[in-house]
Symmetry: none
Subunit: 290 residues, 2 copies
């Protein structure tokens, strides 16, 4: 298989974890989660706290290729040494050229997107949230890459308003939903350049039906923003050769859901708790442990 990036002893450990015997996995997890204590305290101490046999630590070290616990701990200690590099900069073994171009590419992109977020107008989001709060029913629309944003919004809103939120096209052809829009309902349409025809049709249908139209788009002149009651803007632009950025749209979606939830007050909170209890009962999630 492709050789794993064994940048640090910790990642070596984590990679090897699943293929170890059960008890060794336990102590391995303990070490990975408490690596600072692993470097400072004694093996027996750790064993006592982890509720395991001291010998297990020696065996763990040998199992992942070290001559013993001492050597593993030495490696962890070196990896932890505050040493040379400033807070960021990865662990850079001296790489400066070639592959490093990708890294700066990523950093630049992340910083650019971070810069875009605070520029998102907050006021319209709050207003749109109130509209959602008042809506008897909420429809959500997004095509192609915007589908992911639509689904996230759908998911989060359904956590506390399960019966009143629906993804357009979720239960059959989109066109069936278009005729179902009613006044008093809200329709959210997400899109950016180039605009998908289908999303524009949804927006138009929403407007015609008298429902409240909320557009999440990259421009006021976006087709789905025409006639919209609320327009939530984000920056989708990216450097040439990149895909448009959806980070802003996601941030808007999450803010929208959060404010709508807070407007819902105790009732919304109650419903969310019910949902979570149901998920827990179905053992959807990995149970927490010490």
């Amino acid at each position: 298989m492709a050789e794993p990036a064994k940048s640090s002893p910790l990642s070596e450990l984590r990679i090897a974890l699943p293929s170890l015997p059960m008890r060794l996995q336990e102590v391995g997890r303990f070490v990975a989660a408490n690596d600072y204590d692993a470097t400072t305290r004694s093996m027996r101490d750790l064993a006592a706290e982890a509720g395991a046999d001291p010998a297990a630590f020696t065996r763990l070290a040998k199992a992942i290729g070290y001559s013993g616990w001492d050597e593993l701990r030495a490696a962890l200690t070196e990896a932890r040494r505050p040493s040379q590099t400033s807070p960021f900069s990865g662990r850079a073994k001296g790489r400066r050229h070639g592959p490093n171009a990708d890294v700066t590419l990523v950093t630049d992109k992340l910083e650019a997107e971070a810069a875009g977020l605070p520029r998102i107008p907050a006021q319209p989001i709050a207003e749109a949230a109130r509209a959602l709060h008042d809506a008897k029913r909420i429809w959500i629309t997004g095509y192609r890459s915007c589908r992911s944003v639509a689904e996230l919004l759908n998911y989060e809103l359904r956590l506390f308003r399960p019966e009143q939120v629906q993804l357009v096209g979720a239960s059959g052809p989109d066109d069936l939903d278009l005729g179902a829009f009613r006044p008093g309902e809200a329709v959210i349409v997400i899109g950016f350049l180039p605009y998908t025809n289908a999303s524009v049709r949804v927006a138009q249908a929403a407007h015609r039906s008298g429902a409240t139209l909320i557009a999440i788009a990259d421009s006021h002149s976006a087709p789905m923003a025409e006639g919209a009651d609320h327009v939530l803007l984000f920056e989708a632009a990216s450097p040439p050769g990149f895909f448009p950025s959806l980070t802003g749209a996601i941030a808007i979606a999450q803010s929208l859901a959060a404010v709508t939830f807070s407007l819902g007050g105790a009732a919304a909170k109650k419903r969310l708790e019910n949902t979570e209890a149901r998920l827990a009962a179905a053992s959807t999630y990995v149970s927490e442990k010490g």
Copy 2:
């Protein structure tokens, strides 16, 4: 006498330094200058490197009020312990209610998320992208709210590698896909606390199969990060009452797709152009106009 501010054992040491016997001063200065080694290496080791007698360390500790070297080192160790408070913490502005409480809520949230993005480690993303580039096939997994991230990644990767990218569970029960993982393929699993059982099962299956496992998660100790060849971290934490933030995960997904695309070179570019041409021919998009 006036009690000196004993904020840390180190400052205690430095304060008491001048009033100590010469040899103890030397040792004390050595400890102050190499406090990391002081917490990790043994007394005799330090003595050898400092060119001093081991006993001097015990005497130094006693001279500044500790019962022995062990106690001094324990204090230094505690002082050095990495703070367990999350990177977020400087906030908690008092504003709760008011006319535009919702608006400040949104701006705060946006700013917090913007601050989180530059903290995403870029190096692992670049490495993971190379793994994707080399993979014969790419599987993508995400449940519940992470489903949206998975689908975005799926969408963008398929733009230039249509036949080799597949969403786990897209064509039938997830379990059918679990058996299909092969060495030389890559499996991406996205998740954060609370972790969905299904995603952990996918990660385990991927690891067992010998495929390259890429985890996008909120912690190194996330279950799906165990055994992962690449772990891409983001901050999902949000203020109480909020949903976890997916902004970071989306940003990672997009960076991953972008770097993978750039690694694809001319071939990837060609495929992307084909795809776009096909979409245009199907008049998926609204034609540009004045």
